[in-house]
């Protein structure tokens, strides 16, 4: 495991930008901009891998994440052949307040478990404030996971949920690399993870287009249809 020394200032800027783009991607109701935000986020992730000394992973992230997954999401919005185009603005309401306590319980349990494990593995003094680049990225990963989980569980629009899943995955990758450094196993795991995210997004996007064409709905529940 060889970490090229990255200036702490550059790492802080990178972490801040990653969080900012994740926020844009998840909060933006204009789907076109949200997907563009995702492409930018994936390119930034690729930069992060490059700075961590894993050029092949950077290439895979740029190719699988930014180009293929991001391109696929944009292409889904553009419309395909005879299938009707998706509306580019998400007008569906968020999920009701009824299940909100349960949702927050799940999100906080997830984050609490990870935080406990991170503190157990890295020690409290390494995390507050994050001293090394890897721990900084792991902490960023936890925050991105939090955002992704919130978006995945409160939003209804399926394209936005796919985006949230992809960001959640990126957060997991950052925690993975932050915990164990970009070794051979980690690269293998992240590579499989990227392929799975791509295939899952392809399946999800194809299904969404067909569902929209046949029933005019962009959510799982027909009541909140179009």
């Amino acid at each position: 495991m060889s970490l090229s020394p990255m200036a702490p200032a550059a790492a802080w800027v990178l972490a801040g930008l990653l969080l900012l783009l994740a926020g844009v991607c998840l909060l933006q109701r204009h789907l076109w901009r949200a997907c563009q935000g995702f492409v930018a986020f994936a390119l930034l992730m690729s930069l992060a891998w490059l700075l961590l000394g894993a050029p092949w992973l950077a290439l895979a992230e740029a190719l699988l994440g930014a180009l293929l997954t991001g391109g696929l999401l944009l292409w889904t919005l553009r419309g395909r052949g005879a299938l009707p185009r998706l509306p580019t603005l998400d007008r569906t309401a968020r999920r009701g307040r009824l299940a909100a306590p349960l949702r927050w319980l799940l999100i906080l349990t997830w984050l609490g478990l990870i935080a406990t494990a991170l503190v157990g593995l890295l020690g409290l003094e390494a995390l507050a404030p994050p001293a090394s680049v890897t721990t900084l990225l792991a902490a960023t990963g936890v925050l991105i996971m939090g955002l992704g989980l919130w978006a995945f569980s409160t939003q209804r629009h399926l394209l936005r949920r796919l985006l949230a899943f992809n960001l959640l995955g990126s957060g997991v990758f950052l925690v993975l690399a932050g915990l164990a450094g970009p070794g051979a196993e980690i690269r293998g795991l992240i590579l499989i993870g990227l392929v799975v995210a791509l295939l899952g997004s392809v399946l999800g996007a194809a299904l969404l287009l067909r569902l929209h064409a046949r029933a005019g709905q962009v959510t799982l529940n027909p009541v909140f249809g179009t």
Binding site: L113, I114, T116, A117, G120, L121, F152, L158, R161, F165, L168, G169, V172, V175, L176, L179, A180, A184, E185, I186, R187, G188, L189, I192, G193, V196, A197, L199, G200, L203, G204, L207, L208, R210, L211, R214, A215, L220, P222
Partner: protein
């Protein structure tokens, strides 16, 4: 000649190659399928006989990455079961395409997905590190989602999308658990992890994350909500293979990890056992209340999976004799249920296809017009209810003895209530089909092959109970690993 790693590689990739071939030219006759795919279970059987002397294990270096694999008696038995059930589903699918108009493109896609599923399951059975398990699990999951979508109806699309979202989140939970294990112990191979890992809080959190991902993918209560809608709209051969194998693979991985990482965690094992008990009761009650026949069979899967979870409390911290009984019961139940559930889905599919009905009330008159399929349904139900001489009976008997011997009385109650509930929902189906005075629907004739495949599987589940000693002899002869 004794098996070599090349034979394993062949058995992993041959189904995928056949599937791609069939994608180009979808088979119109089940004879061709039988001819092409028969070598697969035969090779699997030969491998099983080959590992009788001792397990095979090895590693594969891909650049800086090392993958570990291991083929023992349990893995080889499950692989043989997988190949047999895949062959049965493929044969059924070829006849099914004759009997009902399927979308041509969808039918062509069925085959490579079936091949991918075979590869994913094979990887899961022989994997000995978390990376390979991850790859197998994801391949299996994505192929399973793809297969569920083939009908293309709005219901299938919505149910499939929900399944996809669940499976994707499950895979991320699993990845996070691996991240923690790797961060804590620095390795991914199961044998090495079992040697170095201590049951400290980080390992417990990691296993909790891995377990929740697997429970989500395996439809174990309370994360089962995606299962019934998915089966409701899927094609019959796909439901059969999914209910028989796909959900079991998650359980297999969970038990493997639990034995390797937290063998002595009694509180966690009891929690899993209690979840399983709730699954038995809730699945049974929902099957009792189900409106459609396929929904009933799907809910019964939720209940039957719950029994398997009893393995955790009966294996954790119990005496060697109790653990051995629980170990044997678990795999017997898994194999028996896989055969019986595939048979039951096929029989239910036959009944629905022939009557054109969707609800249970539409089955009136089937006792006279479709005796073979109804009898198959009954035979499969014998295993699910745990009546002698089926595999389900032997498994429940072993569990009962294990519960009594270890003083864990609660499971006796669960076993009794679960059998009662399964009897109730099975007899609900039989009562509807024996109604004679209702107006009879127009029956569509079925190819004999479809009925025979289901019957053979149901009889195999009963036969497994009669000849349980032979498969059990392959399961860790030296006791529970």
């Amino acid at each position: 000649m004794s098996p070599t790693p090349l034979h394993l590689l062949w058995l992993l990739f041959a189904p995928l190659a056949l599937g791609l071939l069939a994608w180009v030219r979808p088979p119109r006759h089940s004879g061709w399928v039988l001819l092409a795919a028969l070598p697969l279970p035969l090779v699997a059987l030969w491998l099983l006989l080959g590992v009788e002397t001792g397990p095979m294990a090895g590693r594969l270096a891909l650049g800086p990455l090392t993958l570990h694999w291991r083929l023992d008696g349990l893995a080889a038995s499950l692989w043989l079961l997988t190949q047999l059930l895949l062959l049965a589903s493929a044969l059924y699918a070829a006849s099914y395409a004759h009997a009902t108009p399927l979308r041509t493109r969808g039918y062509a896609w069925l085959w490579p997905l079936l091949g991918g599923l075979a590869l994913g399951l094979g990887l899961i059975w022989i994997a000995a590190d978390l990376l390979l398990l991850y790859a197998g699990l994801e391949l299996m999951g994505l192929c399973a989602v793809g297969m569920m979508l083939l009908p293309g109806s709005v219901e299938a699309l919505t149910a499939g999308l929900r399944y996809l979202l669940f499976a994707l989140v499950g895979s991320l939970t699993w990845l996070l658990g691996i991240a923690l294990l790797l961060g804590a112990w620095g390795r991914l191979d199961l044998a090495g992890l079992a040697a170095v890992a201590q049951p400290d809080p980080v390992t417990q959190i990691a296993v909790a994350l891995l377990a929740s991902g697997l429970l989500l993918k395996g439809a174990i209560f309370p994360l089962h909500s995606w299962l019934a809608p998915v089966h409701d709209s899927a094609w019959t051969p796909i439901s059969a293979i999914h209910g028989a194998l796909v959900v079991k693979a998650s359980f297999f991985i969970l038990l493997l990890l639990w034995r390797a990482l937290l063998p002595e965690a009694i509180a966690g094992a009891w929690a899993l056992g209690l979840l399983g008990s709730l699954a038995v009761l809730w699945g049974g009650v929902q099957a009792w209340r189900a409106v459609g026949l396929k929904q009933l069979v799907a809910w019964s899967t939720v209940g039957q999976l719950g029994y398997l979870m009893l393995a955790f409390p009966l294996l954790a911290g119990t005496s060697a004799a109790v653990a051995l009984m629980a170990w044997q019961a678990t795999w017997l139940q898994l194999a028996g249920h896989a055969l019986a559930k595939a048979a039951m889905f096929m029989a239910a599919g036959n009944l629905l296809l022939s009557t054109g009905a969707h609800r249970l009330e539409g089955l009136t008159g089937t006792s006279r017009r479709l005796p073979l399929s109804l009898m198959t349904f009954g035979f499969a139900a014998v295993t699910l209810m745990g009546l002698p001489p089926s595999a389900g009976f032997t498994a429940k008997w072993l569990w009962l003895q294990a519960s009594l011997a270890s003083g864990q009385w609660l499971w006796v109650l669960v076993l009794a209530l679960g059998s009662l509930l399964s009897a109730i929902y099975v007899f609900r189906v039989l009562r509807c089909s024996f109604v004679e005075d209702a107006p009879e629907p127009a029956f569509r004739p079925l190819p004999l092959g479809m009925e025979l495949i289901a019957l053979v599987l149901a009889l195999a589940a009963i036969g497994l109970g009669l000849a349980a000693a032979w498969p059990l002899s392959f399961l860790a002869p030296a006791g529970v690993p």
